[in-house]
Amino acid sequence: MTVEKPLTQEIPPDGQALGLQGYERSGGYQGLRRALRGMTPQSVQEEVKASGLRGRGGAGFPTGAKWSFTPMGADVPRPKYVIANADEMEPGTFKDRYLMEGNPHQLIDGLILAAYANQADVAFIFIRSEYKLAQERLARAIAEAYSAGYLGTDILSSGYALEMYLHVSAGRYMCGEETGLLNALEGKRANPRAKPPYPQVSGLWGKPTIVNNVETLANVPHIVEKGAAWFQGLSRTKDAGTKLYGASGKVKRPGLWELPMGTTIREILEEHAGGMSDGVCFRGVLPGGASTNFLVEQHLDVPMDYTEVEKAGSRLGTGTMIVLDDRTCPVGMTSNLIHFFAQESCGWCTPCWSGLNWATRILEAMEEGHGKPGDLEKLSFQTKFWSPGQTFCALAPGASEPLESALKFFRDDFERHIREQHCPWRT
């Protein structure tokens, strides 16, 4: 039996987008028809809840549970909003772009279903500026969806109305943080917002708002069409569905693969990515993008799902792995990562704006041969400084993960930089 790849199997291999007809032929918008004809919004929510779908944007929050907080009924504040988070800026992550470029209708379909399930009136796709091709294809697909009656005032004659807009960002990692995103959409500085109230209750313009990742939403049409049990069955472990896994760095075939949830790191790296490039050896991996802890050799057989990766001391994150090899300096790599976070810190909370900047300078100095005894203690103090709850949002805690784990797994390399006053990988 071939493995099912609901999210990607219809994407044309030639780099073109699957058009409306192609999408419909493969069963697209069928779930929507079914939902609008025979399912209440609550039952769509129930189905999604039963499927065990968890957010693919990094935090892994159960999607059905998130939706269940949306105030429903006649006298709730309106308009209600749903937003597809297509800001994908987490370094090492390139899955949402592929989904949007290859099958834009799938996202739109999922977004309409999410909107219906939450009885939303307006949907936005919040996409990063650099994704030009995805923008073009989504814009065309939205127009097609309007003409086909999937969007507008009376969708498929059901009486349900939804407007959908593509909103192009102006750049910043913080725009992907769901409350920063709301501020960005409102034309403000994308600082994060205080929670509670959660966006589901008071989000965009103070109205109930659902924010979901592109990949999360892309799963929804399939769940509604084929059911929760089917979705559960796709996975190899307790966490349901398939997952887009990626690998970059010095592997033979960097790329992206839709595989059953719970495929092991080893299988992904060896079978799909073709193993390490010639002449280099594996040293470690960031399993789910820049803001996850390094895993090393001993973790290669960890199944890539939310539960197991967490048990191993990291996070599934976005499921796109960045591989560290032995010809690449772990201090340099960490320095690059922390520099990214420092640069993207919104400047709201002190541990983040000051600590990340300080850590970057320590790491850069170390990499340039100016490390000092005591630097590692300062760095590890910073990683604790950025713990969740101690900073305002999850950006700085995200930064602490690679740094903390690098200090743990590659401590010798850090110490050597300080001792030898130069980076052994630089000649």
Binding site: E88, M89, E90, P91, G92, T93, F94, D96, R97, S129, E130, Y131, K132, L133, E163, Y165, V168, S169, A170, G171, R172, Y173, A184, L185, E186, G187, K188, R189, A190, W205, G246, A247, S248, G249, K250, P254, G255, L256, L286, A290, T320, I322, V323, L324, D325, T328, G332, M333, N336, L337, F340, Q343, E344, C346
Partner: protein
């Protein structure tokens, strides 16, 4: 003064949003698309249209990295400096670009042809190193490919 076209595009955006402020980022990007950057004067003009002060707008503009408050060259080259590209040879690409163009990040060539900027992960990690030239993504860079791409920009 905003051109009729710019004004029309901005006003078109207003229909999708409940507040004028929500359009401000789009408005600045529209002006930037037409003029390459957003001058103080444009900021004032946009402000008048959207009932925002120059400080309101500049506070927003300076938050985002893709709104240019300084003039840029005819071609904007943005090299990804994030982790996968860094592993795959970003530093070599940067050296090649800076020496070829004779400018550092944040600078524009004296002939106004190129502006060189760093950019965060472009979601092209499987084709690292990557860069964007005038909105078009190019992956699997090497010095030859970079030369060819620069060549095409007149």
């Amino acid at each position: 003064m905003l051109t009729a076209e710019e004004r029309q595009e901005i006003e078109g955006e207003l229909a999708h949003y409940p507040t004028k402020q929500a359009v401000c980022i789009d408005a600045m990007k529209i002006v930037q698309r037409h003029r390459g950057w957003v001058s103080d004067e444009s900021l004032r003009d946009i402000g008048e249209l959207l009932e925002m002060s120059p400080a309101d707008l500049d506070g927003v503009a300076t938050f985002y990295n893709l709104i240019f408050r300084k003039p840029v060259g005819r071609h904007v080259v943005m090299l990804c400096d994030s982790v996968s590209c860094w592993i795959m040879g970003y530093e070599r690409m940067r050296e090649h670009l800076t020496s070829r163009l004779g400018i550092q990040f944040g600078e524009t060539t004296p002939d106004n042809r190129f502006t060189l900027l760093p950019i965060v992960c472009l979601g092209a990690c499987d084709h690292a190193p990557a860069m964007i030239v005038n909105n078009n993504l190019h992956g699997d860079l090497d010095p030859d490919k970079i030369d060819k791409l620069l060549e095409e920009c007149q």
